[in-house]
């Protein structure tokens, strides 16, 4: 079966297995020399690609719900979407959610996903109480911050390379409304949007869309979105209306001019400098793109690269300005450019977020792109930054090892828990992991 990530690049031929139970997982493990586990395949590159793939879509059962304390236990193939559909009417929400709800619990843990509230609540795995893991030697064990803690912190953000996550218990957060109070602030420059983040650092949720093609006086113009859970005591189930991009679009559809036109229109569409807080559904606030199924098809047959990097706070605004200037100068446009200010780092060995600035951009795949990305990699390394593994499709081993010093200990823990030679992806091999 032809397999690919969300960016539709790269593509490989793979044998994909769909276990329906722990016994099936065990059988897949013992019959294959090496494999990678895949959830929804929403990582952008080759994190869940390998000649043998174990897909968890049928490991999708709920196991327990402590409604009083907000603790949910479920199999790793359960989608965040299905969790929310269940817990929201009960007055609970995910402590941390990424920008799409079409992600499995296992994927959320393996990619250590972060959301619009990272500065306050950290990453998804910081709210995982416990997990059940199937190791490379067939053993099933429980891992948590207090039991087999080294394996816990390796598995969180470990890109599926430590074992098969079978199930997890997560701590939810209490809500009294399914709506979000959103404030939209138009920022004419990079300085303005960064000041905006600073002045709203007590806000629960904050994220900015940034125009990465704007030059001159418009450089870094952005739309900052601040969110709080509403308090109106109305807990509604989600709506189900979605549009779909039914087929792959032609490659020329998204180009510098159409993207520039989109960016300009999008920025101008927000007329007021600052809109009064407006109540919107949690789906509209957290998952605006989920309304368009298969939006990745807009990029055409060649697919696209998502480039998400972090610059630590020490790099300062100057570092961010420097990198953004290079990107603007290249003229390579992204109409989905997201800027976020992160909070503290966690204990995971391969964790991506730390205090600093994160920018996520999509680039259509064109011949000159890879050379440019390599140049930007060097600049980001100079500032002590790194790239997000769940978005990566082309980072080199040197760049990875220079920017993720935890990789050594990560490999030691993998060896200790029988993962070496059993779990590997195309990405892990490219990054020089065993």
């Amino acid at each position: 079966m032809e397999s690919y990530g969300w960016g539709r690049y790269p593509r490989i031929e793979a044998n994909v297995m769909f276990p329906q139970s722990v016994t099936d997982c065990y059988a897949a493990l013992t019959r294959r020399s090496s494999l990678i586990v895949q959830g929804m395949g929403r990582s952008y590159g080759d994190s869940s690609l390998a000649p043998e793939i174990v897909n968890t879509r049928y490991l999708n059962h709920f196991q327990a719900f402590d409604e009083e304390n907000g603790l949910l236990t479920c199999e790793s193939g359960v989608l965040l979407k299905d969790i929310l559909a269940f817990i929201v009417p009960h007055g609970w929400f995910l402590s941390v959610t990424p920008g799409t709800q079409f992600v499995s619990v296992g994927g959320a843990i393996a990619s250590d996903v972060h959301g619009k509230n990272h500065h306050v609540s950290g990453t998804f795995t910081e709210h995982v109480v416990q997990m059940e893991l199937l190791l490379g030697n067939g053993e099933c064990i429980l891992v948590s911050p207090i039991e087999n803690a080294d394996l816990f912190y390796a598995t969180c953000g470990g890109m599926g390379l430590t074992g098969v996550i079978l199930s997890a218990t997560i701590q939810l957060k209490s809500i009294c409304s399914s709506k979000i109070l959103e404030t939209v602030i138009k920022c004419a420059s990079l300085d303005e949007v960064l000041n905006g983040f600073l002045s709203h650092q007590q806000a629960t949720y904050s994220v900015a869309w940034i125009d990465c093609l704007a030059q001159g006086k418009n450089f870094g113009r952005s739309v900052l979105r601040i969110g709080e859970h509403a308090t109106d005591q109305s807990l509604e189930a989600p709506s189900k209306k979605r549009l779909s991009v039914p087929i792959e679009m032609p490659g020329f559809l998204l180009n510098q001019w159409t993207i520039q036109a989109f960016n300009t229109l999008y920025y101008r569409h927000h007329r007021a400098k600052r809109k009064n807080p407006c109540k919107i559904s949690y789906e509209s606030f957290f998952y605006p793109l989920d309304k368009f199924m298969h939006w990745n098809r807009l990029y055409g047959k060649s697919g696209f690269i998502q480039y998400q990097f972090l610059l630590p706070r020490e790099a300062g605004v100057e570092g961010l300005r420097d990198v953004l200037r290079e990107i603007v100068r290249s003229g390579k446009g992204s109409f989905l450019a997201v800027l976020k200010v992160f909070g503290k780092k966690n204990k995971n060995y391969l964790s991506f977020p730390e205090e600093g600035y994160s920018l996520a951009l999509d680039f259509k795949i064109e011949p000159q792109l890879f050379g440019l990305l390599s140049q930007w990699d060097k600049l980001i390394l100079q500032y002590g930054g790194r790239l997000y593994l769940a978005k990566d499709a082309r980072m080199t081993e040197d760049t990875f090892k220079a920017s993720y010093p935890g990789w050594c200990e990560f490999e030691e823990i993998r060896a200790k828990y029988h993962a070496i030679g059993k779990f590997a992806s195309q990405q892990s091999q490219r990054l020089g992991l065993q």
């Binding site: 329906q20 722990v22 199999e75 039914p246």
Partner: protein, 245 residues
């Protein structure tokens, strides 16, 4: 409160359907052959829904155990308002062509074993004078095609059996529903490349729940398969045999 018996409860369509039924305060009794999967599903329904969930393990190809399994189900549920038969196996057409015993096993699982269950169930519900029997057949049973005529034969035979049963049981106030799904993305079809006409178990489940509530006779799921199959059935045999559909 409905008393619902689901036979073949580990099937993807059955799971999606039960998730809907479990939301109301019903009693669900699940029967399937894989203990581990059954336990998983039962736990899932207990968390997600508000119903009483029980289960029993049985390989439905063991015909001599059908009567006792059904007697036990009636005892646990206190009667049967809805029974959904949702198990089946696609099998491998080419292997069936080469080995008659494999072909016969396919027919046994998909048709014979279900007819055995229906024989007992018909008598139970006829005595009750109410209830509905819903069985998942397939569009494949509407016309024999070279690509899957063994599976198609089983489903076609099943649809015919259900038709006769419907007419008989109507006189006792019992309904019989034939469900004919088209292409559904489930573990049974995981080898197939999915395209435009493919749908999910969730969509089929909604159709089943609505059709059971409405006491329908036959449904195509999704509904557009009715016109597709009308066209397929209309093609004269002298042209059809020339095609490779």
């Amino acid at each position: 409160m409905k008393r619902i018996l689901i036979i073949g409860a580990t099937s993807a369509i059955a799971q999606a359907t039960m998730r809907i039924w479990a939301q109301e305060k019903n009693k669900l009794h699940l029967v399937g052959r894989n203990k581990e999967k059954l336990h998983s599903i039962a736990m899932d329904l207990s968390v997600l829904g508000d119903s009483v969930i029980t289960n029993a393990v049985l390989d439905l190809n063991h015909l001599d155990a059908h009567q006792s399994m059904l007697d036990e189900a009636v005892k646990i549920l206190g009667g049967i308002d809805i029974v959904l038969i949702a198990y089946g196996t696609l099998g491998h057409q080419k292997t069936c062509e080469l080995d008659a015993s494999v072909m016969l096993q396919n027919l046994h699982t998909n048709a014979i074993s279900i007819m055995s269950l229906l024989t007992y169930l018909a008598n139970i519900l006829e005595e009750q004078k109410n209830g509905i029997i819903a069985v998942i057949s397939s569009v494949a049973g509407d016309r024999g095609r070279q690509s899957n005529y063994v599976y198609g034969t089983a489903k076609g035979a099943l649809s015919l059996f259900l038709q006769g049963l419907r007419q008989r049981l109507y006189k006792s106030g019992v309904s019989v529903l034939t469900i004919k799904p088209g292409f559904v993305d489930t573990p049974m079809t995981q080898a197939f490349r999915k395209g435009l006409l493919w749908t999910t178990p969730g969509v089929i489940a909604k159709s089943i729940v609505a059709a059971v509530a409405g006491k329908k006779n036959t449904i195509y799921a999704p509904g557009y398969w009715w016109i597709i199959m009308q066209i397929i059935q209309w093609i004269p045999e002298r042209y059809f045999k020339w095609m490779s559909l």
